[in-house]
Symmetry: C2
Subunit: 400 residues, 2 copies
């Protein structure tokens, strides 16, 4: 428990530091660099023509409403589709009245933090954890505590031990059960059940963030943690960012706890009144065509699976002996650990000199300093770029 | 000063009350009711075809970028246009690097509150003040204090007196100098200068909210308060919501103080990463056509001026003797005060029974309870509807 105790005293000052995500996005703007750094979906796969047709239809048939103010809850037909989509893909039975449309999942993180967190409150996360979530929680001066996670997800025994022994009652448990960012690993069915049980025992609300769940390249879908009996206080975040297009900024919170929903709604209204009436309708129009989104996701999975496989094979040829890396069944990322005394933050400038970029692992860790880790994105590079980029990474590694 | 002292102890509990704006929007959804309640621009005037063409062009020529993640600062060509537009229309000389794109002005209010306000901090506003701003400030548990305003705007002498005598130093001065919501009145040039001077003397940051400035039906434009010498700490909010379409959710903060800008940028990123890449590009494409936005605004002004005039004439025929109301030179609203013991909250159910809606004035007041006031919107009803609606209001008034 020493690492978690350490984090209690080390994270609050990080509240307004310049964001690592922003710096990542800037590196990816340089065209000569092959970037495994960002978390971007492949833009060449966006269904541009279908979305253009959807936009044209929406503006031709419903233009004034698409350009006017709308309800803070979101566009009702889209909320109805989301309720069906969530039930079909995650097993979470949810009504349209329990769906709140947000401007991307990042806003979902912010709204949940806004209603649940006061300065000094404890949030529990997997360690390592998603940077955007850490930033959202720390913006409210929460103390983030990272708990150990392995190839099956967060350790329920450690969670229980922490909750039994923590002098202050934590306010939130944040989990990314499918193809986690940054590691790419998933929480097993058994662990989901155990984590939900422990959280229920301690009346600890769960925030389940699921941006990647539909991007599965191997294995069978695992029901959402929020769908477990007793998980009625679980807030579930979904988004079209990774399965359709992030530039639309359309995502959702499913909240079956009415008190949470009502507070989230007031917070949403206070933050930006409502999400764009136009982009909500474009999404609704796109997904209304039967089978279209499913076929698009299948095509994304086919491309991303090949990119993942290419990266895994290239890493096996390239990384130094003693390296380990994850074998994700889906999502956008894998996570590697170099042997011995490697420091990936020190490696990065050499990698950029060799025209390849990645994200050093250190910022993802909470209260620890695992400097030999790094995150690699495989969705936004072609197989040829992946082969070349990993070879360049090999050059940077050899240049030590 | 008794009213401001009272407000210090009466406003914090209101932080999460259901929003009056939301209830207003719900009333306007009933088609039989002529609504003067909302703050909606006229949807029949939206340039639907031009925006549809802009959307089609953007997606045809720049589709992948319009659908991808983008920088938190906003789309660079749009920031360049905004800098020129702000300088041309308000006299505020601002560089593109000083523009942060937001998801509507409401997000600007939220971001400024997020970086400047802690629980118990004092925010000074005109009294009455915009409900969405009050909600944003109170969400951060600020104490809002309303200072007297007349037909020339906030009283600088009262501001100075408050700052000299307040035991806690206020953190923010919030002003809507052009066609204020809810009163429709504007702050005179002399008052702008005096308010800026007092704020500078006490190092009090100003938040200047200007959603309506371009909708002027009489008189000459007055330079923005932010353009005054010594007002470098003034944060200026602008938006396309009232001059183009609110459903796009595209607005901006101009912040010449770099420390403020940097903190706003981090807060924006934490709140929703960035505003929709698509809607930003649609706006940029629309305004890039020389003269187009100006012609559209001129056409809006022509229609809204006639609606304002119709409402003013109808009120003169209808309201009981002893009533007073403002004569706005622009914007969307006017503000009326009934004589004697009228309570507009009690009048509203009778008005709705007569199929007309307005907003009772009480929620706009901070720390006082002026129950005889009401806000009337004239932009979202035709002249015929205005004549009929004010006649119905007369019936409701006679039914007492």
């Amino acid at each position: 428990m020493s690492s978690t105790a350490q984090s209690l005293f080390s994270t609050r000052s990080a509240g307004f530091k310049p964001s690592a995500i922003r710096e990542i996005l800037k590196v990816t703007e340089t065209p000569e660099i092959i970037s495994f750094a960002g978390g971007l979906p492949a833009p060449e796969l966006f269904p541009v023509e279908a979305l253009a047709a959807a936009a044209a239809d929406v503006l031709a048939e419903d233009g004034p409403a698409a350009l006017q103010y709308g309800p803070s809850e979101g566009y009702r037909p889209l909320r109805e589709w989301i309720a069906r989509h969530v039930a079909a893909t995650t097993g979470l039975s949810v009504r349209p009245e329990e769906i709140l449309i947000t401007a991307g999942s990042q806003q979902g993180l912010d709204l949940v933090a806004k209603i649940l967190l006061d300065p000094g409150d404890i949030v529990l996360t997997e360690n390592p954890a998603y940077l955007g979530a850490l930033q959202a929680f720390r913006a409210y001066e929460a103390d983030v505590v990272g708990l150990s996670a392995d190839s099956e997800g967060m350790d329920p025994a450690e969670l229980r031990h922490f909750l039994l022994n923590c002098p202050r009652r934590p306010k939130l448990l944040y989990l990314v059960p499918n193809f986690q960012n940054p590691t790419g690993t998933s929480t097993s069915l058994r662990r989901r059940a155990e984590l939900a049980e422990v959280a229920a025992e301690f009346s600890l609300p769960i925030l389940e963030d699921d941006p990647y769940g539909s991007l599965r390249y191997a294995g069978a879908a695992v029901p959402a943690l929020a769908s477990r009996p007793g998980a009625a206080d679980c807030l579930y975040l979904g988004t079209v960012s990774k399965i359709l297009a992030p530039g639309l900024r359309v995502a959702w919170i499913a909240a079956r706890n009415r008190a949470f929903y009502d507070r989230l709604l007031v917070a949403k209204q206070s933050c930006d009144l409502h999400t764009s009436s136009l982009t909500q309708r474009i999404v609704e129009r796109y997904v209304a065509a039967p089978g279209r989104l499913g076929a698009h996701i299948a095509s994304l999975c086919s491309v991303y699976r090949a990119r993942r496989d290419t990266m895994l094979a290239a890493l096996a040829r390239t990384l130094p002996a003693g390296s380990r890396w994850t074998q994700p069944d889906g999502g956008l990322f894998l996570w590697a650990r170099l042997p011995g005394g490697w420091d990936t933050a020190a490696l990065l400038p050499r990698a950029i000199a060799a025209q390849v970029a990645f994200v050093p692992g250190a910022p993802f860790w909470v209260g620890t300093d695992e400097r030999a880790t790094l995150r690699l994105n495989f969705s936004n590079s072609t197989p040829e770029q992946i082969v070349t980029g990993v070879a360049r990474l090999g050059q940077a590694l050899s240049a030590r």
